[in-house]
């Protein structure tokens, strides 16, 4: 993974000094809250319902065990013993004190971490496939380009006061685990007909109040053109994006209002001036960054370890966990392991300091000290020997981190909601907990098969409910919490926005309603292999509407 050099260290250190000084000026009253707010947002510090909230950047979701231990330490020393992994591969702390934040940032800087640009109208944390570097069929490791974009976008003087936030995501495989089509810019690494590597550039995707699937602005962009092309897009957005209405200020609105053709013309015109210019990354720098993402020293192994096979035969629970939580690795004899942060009835994405340390220790023992954070609020150990899966599983079980529900009904994605967030209209977490308890039986979850359930507590859609197979949007009606159900959403390479199925359900009724939806699917599916989302595509909403609303 990327390691800071003296330049990276310097800018992060200087930024902490600068922020410490800004905090000092704020506490002394030399700048008002209105003037300070954008400055603290530039360092990811929000003021939420109960306290400040700090969002720490985890670049493209990649963490070392050392960094994870520091995150655990920070949870203990500056917060209330836990953190929350988010749908953008970051971590949030819910209780830091403003006066402590400069010291907290200093501790992060020591392990090459920061909270820069995790908020505000700037380019945010660049996210990428959590299986980057280890997925079979990968064209090239997207983290290389995510790192290049991260550096280019850091304290970019022209793009720090955009009309609105800007999110970029990358994938290196056909299977899209980064939801690139739901981002302001989505980048897929592809080959052209001659086998040259370049990028498909998608623009104008997003969720929130107006969910839109991104459109392709460039089918193939040669590698060296990446940064000049991104500058062109950002420049057009900076000048033309709406600034009069925050709900119409994202680039997706601009692309819709100009139309893709006209928007493309504007970008390509700007690009002609920037192509080949100073912002183009030198090959030497690309090679330098690529070298950081070289594969670890894998042992030469065969696939299909005997230890794994016999453990699967012997232990049903282990076999169930392998089925859902373990994925195919490109290197023979290895596997990708997903750690569920969704125990039955738990708070999705939350991890205690002890759990973080346990994961760090297991990463050191089993996965070259490397951890990934997924945008489904789980963790991944990217490279585990198949023969060691059973002992890893035992290690995870001790800490309650072995729930066999990845990608299944218990793997619920939920934003913090009204329990924590200033923007929320309704709570998400207890709804997730109630649904999780309804589906606590692992056999039942496995029988249901792949199913994503996403819950957002407000229209900002931080729970990504629009792309959940079952999505829940919390709303307030007459002071009560209600939930609108959407069905058929998909976050992958076949991205779809879910459709509202009918009138909203109350807080008490919605877990049962979700169960009704699932039961309807089970009754109507063609066979056990037809997934929920495929069955919905085939059947349409009618059977679900009938089941949900027939007696109302």
């Amino acid at each position: 993974m990327y390691r800071y050099d003296e330049f990276d260290h310097t800018v992060v250190r200087e930024r902490v000094v600068q922020f410490r000084e800004q905090v000092g000026r704020r506490l002394a009253g030399e700048i008002t809250e209105d003037e300070f707010k954008p400055l603290r947002l530039m360092n990811g510090l929000y003021l939420q319902l109960h306290a400040y909230m700090l969002r720490v950047a985890i670049p493209y979701g990649t963490l070392s065990s050392r960094q994870m231990r520091t995150l655990a330490h920070i949870a203990r020393a500056y917060d209330k013993g836990y953190g929350h992994f988010t749908t953008r591969q970051n971590i949030q702390y819910n209780w830091p004190k403003l006066v402590d934040v400069p010291d907290l940032l200093d501790e992060l800087a020591k392990v090459e971490m920061h909270a820069l640009q995790t908020s505000g109208n700037c380019i945010r944390n660049v996210t990428a496939d959590p299986y980057a570097g280890v997925a079979a069929g990968e064209v090239e490791d997207p983290r290389i380009y995510a790192e290049i974009i991260r550096q280019w976008s850091t304290l970019h003087p022209e793009f720090t006061f955009l009309p609105r936030k800007f999110k970029i995501a990358l994938t290196g495989t056909d299977t899209d685990r980064a939801a690139v089509k739901l981002h302001d810019i989505g980048i897929a690494i592809i080959r052209d007909e001659n086998g040259a590597i370049g990028f498909r550039i998608d623009v104008g995707g997003g969720q929130g109040r107006t969910p839109i699937i991104a459109q392709t602005i460039r089918d193939f962009l040669p590698k060296q053109d990446l940064l000049p092309y991104l500058e062109a897009i950002l420049r057009v957005y900076n000048m033309l994006g709406r600034r009069d209405n925050i709900y119409k200020a994202r680039i997706k609105i601009l692309v819709q209002s100009e139309g893709l053709e006209r928007f493309t013309e504007l970008v390509e015109e700007e690009f002609t001036h920037l192509k080949g210019g100073a912002v183009e990354l030198p090959q030497a720098e690309l090679d330098r960054i690529r070298a950081y993402f070289a594969a670890p020293r894998y042992e030469t192994l065969d696939n299909g370890s005997k230890e794994l096979e016999s453990a699967r035969q012997a232990d049903e629970e282990f076999a169930a966990w392998v089925k859902t939580n373990v994925d195919t690795h490109k290197q023979p004899g290895y596997a990708i392991v997903n750690i569920s942060l969704k125990p039955v009835g738990g708070i999705p994405g939350d991890a205690s300091a002890e759990e973080m340390e346990a994961v760090a220790d297991l990463a050191d023992r089993y996965s070259f000290g490397e951890i990934r954070v997924t945008h489904e609020q789980n963790l991944t150990l990217p490279s585990v020997q198949q023969s060691e899966l059973f002992s890893l599983w035992l290690g995870l079980k001790i800490h309650g981190l072995a729930t066999a529900n990845i990608g299944h009904a218990g793997d619920i994605i939920a934003c913090p909601g009204l329990d924590y967030c200033n923007l929320a209209n309704a709570r998400s977490i207890p709804v997730a907990q109630a649904i999780s308890r309804k589906f606590e039986n692992i056999r039942r979850q496995h029988d249901i098969g792949r199913l994503t359930i996403n819950i957002s507590g407000c229209i900002n859609a931080c729970g990504h409910h629009h792309v959940g197979n079952i999505g829940l949007l919390g709303v307030e009606k007459n002071g009560e919490e209600f939930y609108q159900i959407t069905l058929g959403g998909r976050a992958d390479e076949n991205a779809e926005i879910g459709r509202i199925v009918g009138p909203a359900f109350s807080y008490d009724d919605v877990p049962g309603a979700v169960e009704t939806v699932v039961e309807t699917y089970l009754q109507q599916r063609e066979d056990n292999d037809e997934s929920f989302v495929d069955a919905y595509a085939r059947l349409g909403a009618t059977p679900f509407k009938e089941a949900l609303y027939a007696t109302r």
Partner: protein, 169 residues
């Protein structure tokens, strides 16, 4: 309002003239594009220097070749959150190679000065005296830059690979 140029507070030789306001004949003035377009014939023949004030939704190419008549282009930050003038400044410097003064006015606050300077702004009408006095120290707060802009600071990519290249010999 203090003007900062070359790192310090200096007297301002220019005067902003509002549309409809009488323009002194012999003093350097800054006018809006509306006024320039309406009174171009007479303004072109002034003895004293002329400057132009862009709205922040205007692009420099609207000025055409006239751009090079102006001693100063003043660009606006109507609110500090409105970042369009950063693009205007870079275009003026990098696209149009404008070598006159590029001046920021409006909601110009301390914490944006370095970004402004990197985009090619070299004169600042700064709201608060304390911010103006802190100009030099503010500009020096960050010493590493990740991307080229309109200034002549070398981004890290240049510094890193120069280091590598030098021990290739």
């Amino acid at each position: 309002m203090p003007l900062v140029k070359n790192g310090e507070i200096t007297p301002d030789p220019w005067t902003h003239i509002a549309d409809g306001e009488d323009a002194p004949l012999d003093a350097p003035i800054i006018v809006s594009t509306d006024r320039w377009n309406a009174e171009r014939a007479s303004l072109v023949h002034r003895n004293a220097p002329i400057g132009i004030r862009l709205r922040n939704d205007q692009l420099p190419d609207e000025l055409g070749e006239d751009l090079y008549r102006f001693g100063v282009v003043a660009i606006e930050f109507p609110a500090f959150k409105d970042g369009r003038a950063y693009t205007q400044a870079r275009l003026l410097r990098e696209r149009y190679r404008f070598t006159g003064e590029v001046r920021a006015f409006g909601d110009v606050l301390r914490d944006q000065l370095l970004f402004m300077q990197r985009c090619g702004i070299d004169a600042f009408e700064i709201r608060k005296l304390a911010d103006a006095e802190a100009f030099r120290s503010t500009i020096g707060e960050i010493s590493v830059f990740f991307q080229p802009a309109a200034d002549d600071r070398r981004p890290v990519t240049a510094l890193r690979n120069r280091a590598v290249a030098s021990w290739a010999y």
